[in-house]
Amino acid sequence: MNVTQHNLCPRERSSSSPAATDPITLEIIKAQLVAIPNQIERNIERTAFSPLVYEYKDFAVGLVDPAGRLVAQSRGSLPIFVANALGTAVREGLSILGAENIHDGDVVISNSAAWMGQHLNNVIAYSPIRVEGGLIGFFAVLVHWVDIGGSVPGSCLSSSTVDVWQEGIQLPTLKLIERGMRRSEIFRLIETNTRFPHLLMGDIEAQLGGCEAGRTMMEAIIARYGVAAVREAISIIWRDSEASVETVLRRAPQGRYHASSILDNDGVRLDVQVPVDVDVEIRDGRLTVDFSRLSRQVVGPFNAGRNGGAIAAARIACKYLLAPSTPVNEGDFARLHVEVPEGTFLSAGRGAAIAQSGSMVPTVVDTIMLALGDAFPDRAAAAHHGIYGVHSFYGHNPRSGELFQHLDTVSGGWGATAAADGPGPFRSNGHGDVPDVPVEMQEVFYPYRLIAKRLRPDSGGPGRNRGGLGVEKVYAIAHPCKMIVAFDRTLCPPWGIAGGESGQPAGVEIVRANGEREALTKGERSLGVGDSVHVMSGGGGGYGPAYERKPDAVVNDVRLGYVSAEAAAERYGVVLDAGGAFNSSATEKRRAEMRAARRIGIAHEACDF
């Protein structure tokens, strides 16, 4: 088949001259283009001031070319940022300032909602890399700023804002450093508008230090190996990535695929569900993700702009399915086309509330992957727990006498596949190497204690292969404070595939000092001394019918406490005697009933899609 190729990333078309650089040098340059962002990632961890950056690692580091195309990104950078967050900021800067006005020694910052389409806390800083007067690219560092104003401490944490101006200030392409000189008026603007100046101004220094050190290291390798060799290495990186994605797409069954799921609500209109309909097409070595049928933008903060929403979700799914094992670069997405009309909740218009811009993405990514399950059966996985599960605490800390705020997200079970039980607990598919802040550190910084952090038995979706387990954390409140939660996917729990069942959904329950209980998924509450909060993440979906799971595996799950004896009988049809011994005849009987029930269609998914 001879098909015209549409390359999103250009190849060096100097076919007449053979490759100028020897293979070892090219390999070294390629490795260093990735090694430098990785080293800067460690520098930022080591010089940051807020646990959100140095433990939770909510940041990204990378190199983009003069047009904002991604060359390399550090290993720990979150998947949600592969959505060209770094390049988008650069493109905004180019359109506002022009390349010629971004000078040597400048550091430009941006978080503008219109371009980035992600919550305002995500601020990108970038600095031009020039060698012998030629612009080679930009070294860029995105850091989640701990607070940037807005209606609640932490800025992006509210589950009920209705416009972006309630969510913090915007910094639409401002020079923080100009030709090496700090612009004190911008620093002053930022320092005045944050609730946590000590943490934020320190983190900004780490961000700037990373930007500048990365730029210097890049300039050193370019000077050493030459501009031509570095450009050649970059084009090879892109070409190789694009070629491998294209190969996978050409081998897959061609066609149009569809899937849908549901988000609970938008945080404001609590009784209005938000449907997620996606169409995906594989044809001629290209992947099209079509969001035309996606729900319109919502009133509450569960929106994102086009770049931070639709493009991000499509790119993450594309990377998971087509090129999981290589470092991220623009070539991975050269074969991806995203169709999205204006005004969906992933392409929200000016002014839309976007505080929770990433929260919907894991569900959208899972839905795209569900649609493509038929095209890639051996890569298909049941749904993972599927939410960020933001739960944050804020108030006055009696130890320091100062305001505190702690942002956390959940780790839960991942989906089973044809080959194995679901792994986990891990954070969502929009997170990567995002570690929990240690309990011992939280207890020093915040006026609560964690009295349990344990697996939730029976939370994994039953199946021939079982979904991974969710986690329950229990907080004991030692001083009055407030909590905001933004949970979802209770109406459409993490689904199973191939006959597997869904995992248990996530949830939050407050147990008051007087014994009263309240379950909630979104909202803000005051907490008092003696209250406790149970934060539960969901389990992953199962794969294949549960009554086909090997009895040995079920018995082992019961022995290890992953599955209760009741659930083993009820959900898997594996009956144990009171002493825990396997009862083979009761099991056969129970499983026969389950098979029969299945045939007449009693069992079906909770989530209609």
């Binding site: 070892i24 390999e27 070294i28 490795a31 260093q32 090694a35 430098i36 520098n43 080591r46 010089t47 001031f49 140095y54 433990e55 720990g76 950078s77 979150l78 320190g202 220094e205 700037l208 230090g209 050190a213 210097t216 050493r224 990377k319 998971y320 090129a323 999981p324 094992s325 890569r379 996985a381 780790s411 991942w414 596949t417 194995a420 792994p423 891990f426 954070r427 997170h431 990567g432 190497d433 995002v434 570690p435 929990d436 240690p438 309990v439 011992e440 550190m441 207890e443 020093v444 964690l450 009295i451 349990a452 952090k453 344990r454 697996l455 986690v471 229990v474 290890l560 406490g561 992953y562």
Partner: protein, 689 residues
Amino acid sequence: MQRKSRYLIAVDTGGTFTDLAVYDARTSKTFFGKTLTNYEDLVAGVIECLRDAGTDLSGARLLKHGTTHVINGFIQRTGARVALVTTVGFRDILEIARGSRPVPFDLGYRRAPPLVTRDLCFEVGERITCDGDVERPLDVTALERLIPELRRCGVESIAISFVNSYRNSTHERKAKEILQRLLPNLFVTTGSELSMEWGEYERTSTVAANAYVGHRMRSYIRDFEKKLRERDFSGSLYMMASNGGVMSGSQAIAHPVALLESGPVGGCIGTGAYASALKLDRLIAFDMGGTTAKCALVEHGRFDVQTTYYVGGYEHGFPIRAPVLDIVEVGAGGGSIGWLDSQGRLKLGPRSAGSEPGPICFGRGGTEPTITDASLVLGRIGSENFLNGRLALNRERAAHAIEQQLAAPLGYSGSAGVDQVAHGLLELAVVAMTAAIKEITIQRGRDVRDFALCAFGGGGPMFGAQLARELGIPTVIVPPNPGAFSSLGMLVANARRDFMRIFIQALSDESLTRAMGVVAEIEEEAREAARSEFDVSVLTFEREVELRYRGQKHTVRVRLPENPTAASMLAGFEAGYRSRYGRVHPELVAEMIALRVGALVPMPQPDLSQLSESKAYGETRPTRRRSVYFAEAGKRVDTPIFDRSALPVGFELNGPAIIEEYSATTVLGPPDRLLVGTLGELRITCARP
């Protein structure tokens, strides 16, 4: 009687060979030995080596021992059946880890399973607050109620880890005391014994790992020492630790994870010694033994020590909080087995024939062809001179096995076909080893071509020049007695104990005075420990302060001089901070976080210039000639064979050539050039590819 003992002995037990170095303090001479590792009786191998060196254990003042047992225990998962006892609410701490996925886009990503399965994780009531106060006393009754269950489960070791024990370890100590008393044969260990840093997951992972290897290592070290005593050893036994120093046997029994990379560290210390003596700033220490090949960087005489080591790698493995040198290891050694996969493709390793049964050519029952067999067939090693002729190698049998098992099924015939397949096996080893060297250099942001390669171990000198040529490394150094080089490094190692105190105060002249008071206390404690552990009280100290800007988590270590001032310490901190991160912040408060004291017990050491037998004059003609297959030539070449011990300093030679000695064979490719250096080291200048 200790004064009469004249020998210092270092023994490195690898998967295939036991290497030994003996320093005679009376004559300042050093001897080397090498035998196959005897798993039944490790000390027997030591005795055999000593006999070669013309001595025995009765004259030994001390014996330093390095072993791969700890790391192998983790890799092969052959450790103890461990129970974990945690604070109520936290039994799943190992399984939950920290919720992150270091490989971001792999849907099938999972961590290596925890060392303790969930049914052996137990909770007891107790709680220490983050200030170190007891909020809930240890529930002793609940702890005692676990005893029958622990017995029933056949637990061999117990790891105890409580939340906030880094602030107050009394509950952990009390729980240990109770469990140890009721279960006297079990190995019981606590998190706070091993790490006093915060971070409950990393500390729990460390103590679980310590319990996992502790049970076996305790028997191993006790047994090893008992056998030494039975053979008239009256000196002290020291174990080689991963931090580059040695520790006493009793300390090693309590803290076996400190022995994690006990074997390879010796080679790095040795490489560092040669790097300093030869004034080479950047060296790759490359060690190819019987089972694996390992590499590490030695820059400016020092090797990098990580404070948190991930067994099995950061991406999938588990953390251990212990100082460990930064090393990359691949399963390519002389014993690595060549085989055909189900599609009939030639594969190498990771299985190794080890010392039992060993390569086919050893004639000790090995039936599968190995790298050593292929090297013998190709003429790269000789059949008579292996281990000074103590082990005659059977070339015919090796060639026959390669022909039958590999060449014929692959469609190669005749001796040329056997050569081609044998050469293919070596190429597979080269691919694996170049990948390891790239990982330790290029992937750490270094240009591999800025380094020289220090090749040692039984196989290192055979492959060094070829690897260097592949990677564009200009120079290879082969030290004297490369096959026993790790044991030489251990001989050079001092005893080292590291002490740390949390000390959080803003930097000022007054706080520094207080800090020096604490340092003096630590040093007294160190002297006390050294008296009981090493029977000496004269120590040298390396004093450091960890500094950071107030509010940061990570620190920069700054050396603490005798009479420090706040200004000089701040200058040192800023210099370190600037070199790492490119900037400083004079407006921020610099504070001290921790005081560290490394206590070194200096030990008598061999003089490197005495190690080589090379003299100013010597025999420069080849001892004989042999037909050797060279990849560079693509065929067999009639090649001169030299005896290394006869070659004089300053001798120069063009390849191809083979240089033989007791413990190793150096292969000089056709385009390479050799010079015998001033310390008797072989310097190979590699031609550009």
